[in-house]
């Protein structure tokens, strides 16, 4: 039964023009890297550019943007148009539905983001360790984002708007201005991973310890998934007009 759930979810997510547009955002990352490479920069300059490009653009914009759109659509679009009823009217444990949706959200997000981050990194200055570090960071950050946005789509019908506001305001502005909030910024968790795995080139890119970042990531992901399961158990379907 999990296979059936998987195939429906994957087809629902991939069968849209939206996914193509999201893939283009990843392609844009690579294009920018290529343009930079064409300007024949020095080594030091290239490293600094790579950190900014992968950190600010890759982990700061592309990852949350893709995750918020995929994550809020994975279950949210079914809640929106009422097709969720075909899932709910089945003797399938609710945690299993959430588990599959979470897995698919994470896989699709990762496929759209991580390869683009890796290629962009390699193109910018050929430092594969750095590129790999950031790609893995995107995978880790993707887990947390996927769980958060999946839960959000079960809490509010305006999940995409609120998710976008969260990305811009919390991840962008608040975590930029107030250091104390950075412990709870997904982007900072991902940057900590990038620093830990990215080799010498990534020194100083993160501000959190890797242990702390991974612990918070695990806790937030687990809490968000737990919340999503609870919400799905209690989701109420009203008629068309309600």
């Amino acid at each position: 039964m999990t296979a059936a759930l998987l195939s429906i979810t994957v087809r629902a997510l991939l069968n849209r023009r939206r996914t193509l547009l999201l893939a283009l955002v990843g392609v844009l990352l690579v294009v920018v890297a290529a343009l930079f490479r064409l300007s024949a920069p020095g080594d030091d300059e290239a490293n600094r550019f790579a950190l900014r490009l992968l950190g600010n653009f890759g982990l700061g914009v592309v990852l949350p943007l893709v995750a918020v759109i995929v994550g809020t659509a994975a279950l949210g679009s079914e809640l929106d148009d009422g097709t969720i009823v075909y899932l709910l009217a089945k003797p399938v444990a609710r945690w299993r539905i959430i588990a599959v949706k979470f897995l698919v959200t994470w896989l699709v997000t990762s496929l759209l983001v991580a390869p683009a981050v890796f290629i962009a990194g390699v193109v910018t200055n050929g430092d594969t360790t750095l590129a790999l570090g950031f790609a893995v960071a995107a995978l880790v950050g993707g887990l947390e984002y996927a769980a958060i946005f999946l839960a959000l789509s079960l809490i509010t019908s305006r999940a995409l708007i609120i998710g976008l506001a969260y990305v811009v305001v919390w991840e962008g502005v608040v975590a930029g201005l107030f250091e104390a909030t950075r412990g709870f910024s997904v982007r900072q968790h991902a940057l900590a991973v990038a620093e830990a795995l990215g080799g010498d080139g990534a020194n100083g890119v993160g501000e959190l310890g890797i242990g702390f970042a991974l612990a918070v990531t695990a806790v937030v992901t687990a809490l968000a998934i737990g919340l999503a399961v609870r919400r799905l158990q209690e989701v109420e379907l009203r008629g068309e007009t309600a």
């Binding site: 075909y86 209690e234 379907l237 068309e240």
Partner: protein, 303 residues
């Protein structure tokens, strides 16, 4: 045998009461849930199917509350009113996915059987996005039937069907009821309910206004005049005699049809033969003019 049992069920959204203190049982056979739009039909059905929690009271399927018991769906098939079905799946893929989500071992065979029941074989290979309303309705029914449930709940199942499909669906539901299943469907179209149901539940403004066999319901409404259509050899003379009778409230002679209204169902049937005798008219026909569900319904709605 599966019974759905509602006891003192109310459901409100904020300060809007959608269902108000409703108690009834639905057993084997076909039950029609009738009511105007906004009466609370969908709310009731969704509570019975476990998609809504009752705000008060209990909704049970064979002693298990329907809310938060997903295992019950092994014995319940639900056809929602909303038309949206995954547009990117073919009809067969959709029904097959339902079968697999129900954990049916031979999903392909169950799929073929369900698609056969709704006669959708020809279109099963096409994407649902291109289906007509009637085809969507049938594929939804097929998906709800795929696990052969003893209880089938359908919300406005005849919406968008053409008359031929409607007849086919009615036949199918009758067949399934004959096998001892519990079938509950909602409709605001009286003719459907009248033709299909053994039993009617009438909801008006969130309250259960009547339940049972609709002819019975009609007879219970003693405060409302009954009308009879009478044909006789001399309608005019008979009308004159009937007017003199105390139980008759009004007589109308129009286009050669004599309509008689009375407040007392029994008294009129006893009074009419003597009246005909006095008028020297022979009675050709006497039948209740408004025993159709429609008149029962419009009476209940207006009350």
């Amino acid at each position: 045998m599966s019974d759905i049992r509602l006891e003192a069920v109310s459901r409100w959204y904020g300060n809007v009461v959608a269902v108000n203190d409703v108690t009834f049982d639905v057993g084997a056979g076909i039950t029609g849930l009738l009511g105007p739009n906004g009466a609370g039909k969908t709310t009731l059905l969704h509570m019975m199917a476990g998609f809504l929690a009752p705000s008060a009271g209990s909704v049970k399927l064979d002693d298990t509350p329907t809310w938060r018991h997903p295992d019950l769906y092994r014995s319940v098939g639900f056809v929602p009113e909303r038309e949206a079905v995954y547009p990117f799946l073919t009809g067969r893929a959709f029904v097959n996915a339902s079968a697999r989500l129900h954990g049916i071992e031979d999903a392909a065979a169950a799929t073929d059987r369900a698609i056969g029941m709704v006669a959708l074989e020809a279109a099963a290979g096409r994407a649902i996005g291109g289906y007509s309303k009637g085809m969507r309705q049938r594929v939804k029914v097929a998906a709800a039937l795929v696990h052969d449930p003893p209880v089938l709940i359908l919300d406005e199942p005849f919406n968008g069907m053409d008359p031929r499909q409607r007849l086919h669906m009615m036949d199918m539901l009758r067949r399934m009821a004959a096998e001892g299943r519990t079938i509950l469907f909602s409709s605001h179209i009286l003719e459907e309910v009248e033709r299909l149901s053994d039993r009617v539940l009438v909801v008006v403004a969130g309250r259960l206004a009547a339940s049972g066999d609709f002819r019975r319901i009609r007879r219970l409404m003693t405060d409302r005049p009954h009308s009879f259509t009478v044909r006789s050899s001399d309608d005019r003379a008979l009308a004159r005699e009937l007017l003199a009778d105390a139980t008759v409230e009004a007589v109308e002679l129009h286009d050669g049809t004599l309509t008689v209204r009375t407040g007392d169902y029994g008294a009129l049937t006893r009074a009419i033969a003597p009246a005909a005798q006095r008028a020297r008219a022979s009675l050709l026909e006497l039948r209740p003019a408004d025993e159709s569900l429609e008149s029962v319904f419009s009476y209940l709605v207006r009350r």
